[in-house]
C-alpha cells in the first residue's frame, strides 16, 4: 500500500503539483444478514483505492480512483492537479508537515483471530442474536433483521513533505431490530454490540437488548407538553454529544457555522460534564496512530470545569487559527478528502447509578430513542427539535412508556443544563465514535399532546 502511495505522490509532482499527499486504503469485509432463522444474504469482498491531494501554489485539488496500475495512478494524479488548477487560492492551504515526536504509539487495533471465523460461524453468530430476541418473550413477533459485519483495513499515507505511515485495524458489529406485538400496533427495538473481532460480541446480550427495548414500548402514549427534567440514555446522549463534537471542530467555528464559535474560555456546560476527544483510546473505534493526513493522534480536553478549553484542529484549520493540529483530520475512506472532525469523543462517567440518576430527576422523561437528528437540528445555531420516545419518570422511578413526542432546546443550553451524569458509560457508533453515560438535563421542552 505504501508503495502505491509513494508512486502517487511522485506522479502528482510530475503532473505539476508543488506538493502532494496520497492516502491508500484496502479493506476486506464480510456481512451476514439473517431473517426468520435463515441466512438472507452473505457478502464477502475486498476493495482498495487511493486518493491524492495536490497543491499548486496555494490551490488544492483532490482525485480518487480504484485503478492502482501505473497508468491508473498517473491519470489520477493528473486529475488531482487539474482539480487544483480550478480551485481559488487559499492562503492557509498547504501540505501537512511531519511531526517529529518519536515513533507513533503502538496501538492494538486489530483482532488477529478475526480471519479464523468462517462465514458459517459468522452466520451462526447472527442467528444466535436473532434467536435470543425471539426467545425473550412471547410478545416478540419477529425480527426485522439481524446483521453481523466486519472489516479489516490497511491504510498507508505518504506525502512530498515527508510524512509516511501505515497501520491496520479491524472492527466488527452486530445488531438487530426486534419487533414486539403491542395492543395497537408493533414496536421496534434496536440492540447492538461492537468489537475488534467477533469474539468480543455477545450475541445473546444484543438480541435481548433489542427485545427489551421493543417490549418496553408496548402501550406507549404521548406525554403532556411541558418543560421538565429529561434523562438521555447513553445511545441518545451519544447522538447529541456527536452533534456537539461537530460544533467543536475548528472548521465549523472558523466559518462561523458553530454555536460554540468565540466561546473558548467561556462556561458552556454544567459542572457535572467533562468531555474530551481521544484518537488513541485503545477501546475507541476511531483510534489510529495517525490521523487522515498523517499527523499523530492524541488526547484533547474539550470541556472541563464548565469551561470550553479548545477546538479540534487539522493542518488547514490550525494554520488558519494560528494553533497546532490536534491530529483530528479524518476522512470517510479514500473517496473523501480529509477534513477536521472528532475521533473518539468521551464523556467522563459520574458516580450515580442509573436508578440514582432517575431519583435525581424526580419527575420528567427518559429518552431512549431519537429520530430526525439530521433534519431537526440547526448546526449553525444549535437549535433543535427532534422526535423522541422513551419512558415517563415519576417519583424518581420509571413509569409508562412514551412515544411520538419531541424534545427541543439548543445545544449550548442543553450542555449548560446537564445536572448529573451516570456511571453507565457505553461506546455508541451511530454519531461518530462516542462513549458516554446517561445524562440528566435539568430542563428541556417536551411536546406531546
Amino acid at each position: 500500500m505504501i508503495e502505491a502511495a509513494r508512486r502517487a505522490v511522485e506522479a502528482a509532482t510530475k503532473a505539476g503539483a508543488g506538493e502532494a499527499e496520497a492516502y491508500a486504503a484496502e479493506d476486506s469485509g464480510r456481512e451476514v444478514r439473517v431473517h426468520g432463522g435463515a441466512v438472507e444474504s452473505l457478502t464477502a469482498a475486498t476493495q482498495r483505492g487511493l486518493g491524492v491531494r495536490a497543491w499548486i501554489g496555494q490551490r488544492v485539488g483532490y482525485a480518487y480512483g480504484t485503478d492502482l496500475s501505473a497508468p491508473g495512478i498517473a491519470g489520477l494524479a493528473e486529475r488531482a492537479a487539474e482539480a487544483a488548477r480550478v480551485a481559488d487560492e487559499d492562503e492557509f492551504a498547504g501540505a501537512p508537515r511531519g511531526v517529529s515526536e518519536g515513533d507513533p504509539p503502538e496501538l492494538a487495533l486489530s483482532d488477529p483471530t478475526i480471519g479464523e471465523w468462517s462465514t458459517g460461524q459468522l452466520a451462526d453468530l447472527a442467528l444466535e442474536i436473532e434467536r435470543a430476541a425471539l426467545g425473550a418473550d412471547a410478545r416478540i413477533a419477529g425480527v426485522e433483521q439481524a446483521v453481523y459485519a466486519d472489516s479489516t483495513e490497511r491504510v498507508a499515507i505518504a506525502s512530498s513533505s515527508g510524512i509516511e505511515g501505515e497501520y491496520s485495524s479491524s472492527s466488527c458489529y452486530g445488531y438487530l431490530q426486534a419487533l414486539a406485538e403491542g395492543e395497537d400496533g408493533r414496536e421496534t427495538g434496536l440492540g447492538f454490540g461492537l468489537g475488534r473481532g467477533p469474539a468480543a460480541l455477545e450475541p445473546t446480550a444484543i438480541g435481548l437488548e433489542g427485545a427489551e427495548r421493543a417490549l418496553t414500548m408496548i402501550g406507549a402514549e404521548k406525554p403532556a407538553s411541558r418543560a421538565c427534567p429529561v434523562v438521555l440514555d447513553p445511545t441518545v446522549a451519544a447522538s447529541f454529544i456527536g452533534l456537539i463534537g461537530r460544533g467543536l471542530s475548528a472548521g465549523a467555528v472558523q466559518r462561523g457555522r458553530s454555536p460554540f464559535a468565540g466561546r473558548v474560555g467561556e462556561e458552556v456546560a454544567g459542572e457535572a460534564l467533562a468531555l474530551h476527544d481521544d484518537g488513541l483510546d485503545p477501546e475507541g473505534f476511531a483510534s489510529s496512530p495517525l490521523d487522515a493526513e498523517g499527523v499523530p493522534r492524541r488526547r484533547t480536553t474539550l470541556v472541563e470545569a464548565k469551561t470550553l478549553r479548545t477546538y479540534l484542529y487539522d493542518t488547514y484549520t490550525a494554520r488558519r487559527g494560528d494553533a497546532a493540529s490536534t491530529g483530528n483530520a479524518s476522512r470517510a475512506g479514500y473517496r473523501s478528502q480529509p477534513s477536521v472532525s472528532t475521533s473518539n469523543l468521551v464523556v467522563a462517567p459520574g458516580t450515580l447509578s442509573f436508578a440514582e440518576l432517575l431519583r435525581e430527576a424526580g419527575e420528567g422523561v427518559l429518552v431512549t430513542d431519537v429520530a430526525g437528528l439530521h433534519s431537526g437540528v440547526n448546526p449553525v445555531s444549535g437549535v433543535f427539535s427532534v422526535g423522541a420516545s422513551g419512558r415517563a419518570i415519576r417519583d424518581g422511578e420509571l413509569a409508562e412508556p412514551l412515544r411520538e413526542f419531541t424534545i427541543a432546546s439548543d445545544l449550548v443550553s442543553m450542555l449548560r443544563a446537564v445536572r448529573a451524569v451516570g456511571a453507565d458509560a457505553r461506546w455508541v457508533p451511530f454519531s461518530g465514535s462516542v462513549k458516554t453515560p446517561s445524562l440528566l438535563i435539568a430542563e428541556m421542552t417536551v411536546a406531546g399532546s
Binding site: 435463515a38 438472507e40 444474504s41 452473505l42 457478502t43 464477502a44 469482498a45 476493495q47 488544492v60 485539488g61 483532490y62 482525485a63 480518487y64 480512483g65 480504484t66 485503478d67 486529475r79 488531482a80 482539480a83 487544483a84 480550478v86 480551485a87 481559488d88 487560492e89 487559499d90 419477529g142 426485522e144 433483521q145 431490530q177 419487533l179 400496533g185 408493533r186 421496534t188 404521548k222 407538553s225 466559518r255 457555522r257 473517496r335 478528502q337 429520530a371 430526525g372 439530521h374 433534519s375 431537526g376 437540528v377 449553525v380 445555531s381 427539535s385 427532534v386 422526535g387 412515544r403 411520538e404 413526542f405 419531541t406 427541543a408 432546546s409 421542552t445 411536546a447 406531546g448 399532546s449
Partner: protein
C-alpha cells in the same frame, strides 16, 4: 407554489399526455454487451456462479465517474474528481443471497468473484439461460457535464454566491456545491436478461446563513435532475435567491408552537412527507418481514378518496428516473394508491419472486458494492382539485409547513418525524408569522387517513434517500396537502 422546473404536471388519472412515455426498446444485437463487459465473459461468469447450484445468478458491472466542487467564503474549493469501475456477482439459492464484488472489470477478477459467491454452495451445477439482446433506453442527455470546462462550473457557483450575497447585508455566509455523476451500468442474469443503462446526473445546492445580532438562521435550496448540463440553462441562480430568502424570513421568526393542530404541507419537497410516511412502508422487503404498517392493507382504503399516488421511475429526466433499474428491469409507473385505496407495493427481483409477482422495476443499489433492495424512484401525490389558498383559508389555527430539512420513519411502527425548514403559523385562515425550530411528528396510517385536501398545484424536488446503508437519488413531489390534525413539536408550550 412554483411550478416544477419544466412546468410538467402529471394528470390525476395518470395518462401519458403530460409526462410522455419512454418506450423500452431493444438495441441492435451484437456480441458486445456494452463497453463494460463482453457478452462471452458475462455468460462465463454466470455459468461459474451457478457451478455449485442456485436458482439465480447475476453479474452487475459499473463504471462511474464524477466531479464535485464547492464555493465557500466566496472561494472555489473542495474540487474533487473520482472514478471507479467494478462488478458485483450474486447467486441466490433457497432464499439465501451470496454476494461478492471486485474493483475493476478484469474478466479474471469478475470470474473470481463468481467463484467466491458460489463457494458456500454445495449443490448440483445449474445452467444459465443464453443471454438475450441488450435492452434499455437511457434518459436523453444533451450536454455531457464531463465535457463542460471546469471553469464554467466554477462560474456557475460564483453566480450563486453573488446572487445570495446580493440579497442583503444580513446574509453573512453562503455556500454552494456542484456535483455531476456519470454512471454506466450493465446487468446480465441467468434468466437470459441483458440490459444496460447510461445515467448522467447533475445537482447544485445552495445554503445561506443570515445573522441579526445573536440570531442565526439558515436557508437551503437544491436543483437537480437526471440530465446534462442543459439543466442550468434556465436561471439556476434562483436557488441562491430562494436559500437567502428563507434564511432572511427566519430572522423574523418566533418559536414554533407545540401541540396538535391542522397542518398544511407545501408542494414540492413537502412530498418527502409522503415518501417517508407511506413510500417506505410500501417497499416489499418491509412488507414481507412484517415490518410495515401497510402489511395486509392491500386493497383497503388507507386514505380519503381524494388521494392518488404514484412511484414513477421513468419520468423524463427526473432526478429519481433511470432507464432500467439496477437489476436490468425497465423502470415503470406504479400507481400505489388509487382514490385512497392501497393497490400496489414496490418490488425488486427477490421480493417479487417470493410473492410470485413481477418486479415493479424498483430494485436499486448505490453501486456495484451493494445488493439491490426495493427502493422508491420518484414518488408523488397526484394533484387534486383544491385551491392552495382555500386550503389555508379554512384553517382557524394551524401550521403551514412549506419545506422540510428532512425526515425519518420507522416503517414497522409507522412513527415518523420531520424537521421543518420553513414554516408559518396559520391564524384565522391566514398565514401570519414565520416559526423556527418546528418538527412534525405522527404516525403514518393516522396521518395518511387525516389528509383532507390535496391541492391542484404540483412540483417535484430532488432528494437523497438512505436505506440499508445505501444512498440513492429519489424524487419527491406533490401540490399542497392538508392534514386535519398532526403534532407540531416546537419550543413554545
Amino acid at each position: 407554489m412554483r411550478e416544477s422546473e419544466r412546468g410538467e404536471r402529471p394528470d390525476r388519472d395518470g395518462d401519458r399526455r403530460s409526462f410522455g412515455s419512454v418506450a423500452i426498446g431493444t438495441r441492435a444485437k451484437g456480441a458486445r454487451v456494452s463497453e463494460l463487459i463482453d457478452s462471452e465473459v458475462a455468460a462465463r461468469v454466470l455459468s461459474r456462479a451457478l457451478a455449485n447450484g442456485g436458482e439465480f445468478a447475476e453479474v452487475y458491472a459499473e463504471r462511474n465517474a464524477g466531479m464535485t466542487m464547492a464555493i465557500d467564503e466566496s472561494r472555489i474549493e473542495a474540487v474533487q474528481s473520482g472514478a471507479a469501475t467494478g462488478a458485483g456477482v450474486r447467486v441466490i439459492s433457497d432464499g439465501t443471497t451470496y454476494f461478492s464484488h471486485v474493483d475493476g472489470l478484469d474478466p479474471a477478477d469478475i470470474e473470481r468473484a463468481a467463484d467466491e459467491a458460489a463457494a458456500a454452495l454445495h449443490a448440483e451445477r445449474s445452467e444459465p439461460r443464453p443471454l438475450g439482446a441488450v435492452t434499455g433506453t437511457p434518459q436523453p442527455i444533451a450536454v455531457a457535464p464531463a465535457g463542460v470546462p471546469a471553469e464554467r462550473k466554477a462560474a456557475l457557483l460564483r453566480e450563486l454566491d453573488e446572487r445570495a450575497r446580493g440579497a442583503g447585508g444580513e446574509i453573512t455566509q453562503f455556500t454552494a456545491s456542484y456535483a455531476e455523476a456519470h454512471r454506466e451500468v450493465c446487468v446480465a442474469n441467468s434468466e437470459g436478461l441483458l440490459a444496460e443503462d447510461d445515467r448522467t446526473r447533475v445537482r447544485i445546492g445552495a445554503q445561506a446563513v443570515a445573522r441579526r445580532d445573536d440570531l442565526v438562521e439558515t436557508g437551503a435550496e437544491t436543483l437537480g435532475a437526471h440530465r446534462g448540463f442543459e439543466l442550468f440553462d434556465n436561471d439556476p441562480g434562483s436557488i441562491a435567491d430562494d436559500a437567502a430568502r428563507k434564511a432572511l424570513t427566519l430572522l423574523d421568526a418566533s418559536p414554533a408552537p407545540a401541540g396538535s393542530m391542522p397542518v398544511v404541507v407545501g408542494g414540492g419537497f413537502g412530498g418527502v412527507l409522503f415518501h417517508e410516511m407511506t413510500g417506505h412502508g410500501l417497499e416489499a422487503d418491509h412488507i414481507q418481514k412484517g415490518a410495515s404498517v401497510y402489511v395486509g392493507k392491500l386493497g383497503e382504503q388507507v386514505a380519503q378518496p381524494l388521494l392518488t399516488a404514484y412511484d414513477d421511475g421513468r419520468l423524463p429526466n427526473e432526478w429519481g428516473s433511470d432507464g432500467v433499474d439496477d437489476e436490468g428491469v425497465p423502470t415503470q409507473k406504479t400507481r400505489v394508491i388509487e382514490d385512497g385505496r392501497l393497490i400496489a407495493y414496490l418490488y425488486d427481483g427477490v421480493t417479487s419472486r417470493r410473492d410470485g409477482v413481477s418486479s415493479t422495476g424498483n430494485g436499486r443499489r448505490e453501486s456495484f458494492r451493494h445488493l439491490p433492495v426495493p427502493r422508491m424512484t420518484n414518488t408523488y401525490i397526484a394533484p387534486g382539485d383544491a385551491e392552495p389558498e382555500a386550503m389555508i383559508a379554512e384553517v382557524e389555527r394551524g401550521f403551514y409547513a412549506v419545506s422540510f430539512a428532512g425526515g425519518q420513519v420507522d416503517p414497522a411502527t409507522g412513527d415518523f418525524v420531520f424537521g421543518v425548514s420553513e414554516g408559518y403559523l396559520i391564524e384565522g385562515g391566514k398565514v401570519t408569522r414565520p416559526c423556527r425550530g418546528a418538527t412534525l411528528i405522527g404516525n403514518c396510517l393516522e396521518a395518511l387517513a387525516a389528509i383532507d385536501a390535496v391541492g391542484n398545484d404540483f412540483e417535484m424536488k430532488t432528494g437523497i434517500c438512505g436505506k440499508a446503508g445505501q444512498r440513492v437519488p429519489v424524487g419527491t413531489g406533490q401540490g399542497h396537502v392538508r392534514i386535519a390534525a398532526m403534532t407540531v413539536g416546537g419550543t413554545e408550550v
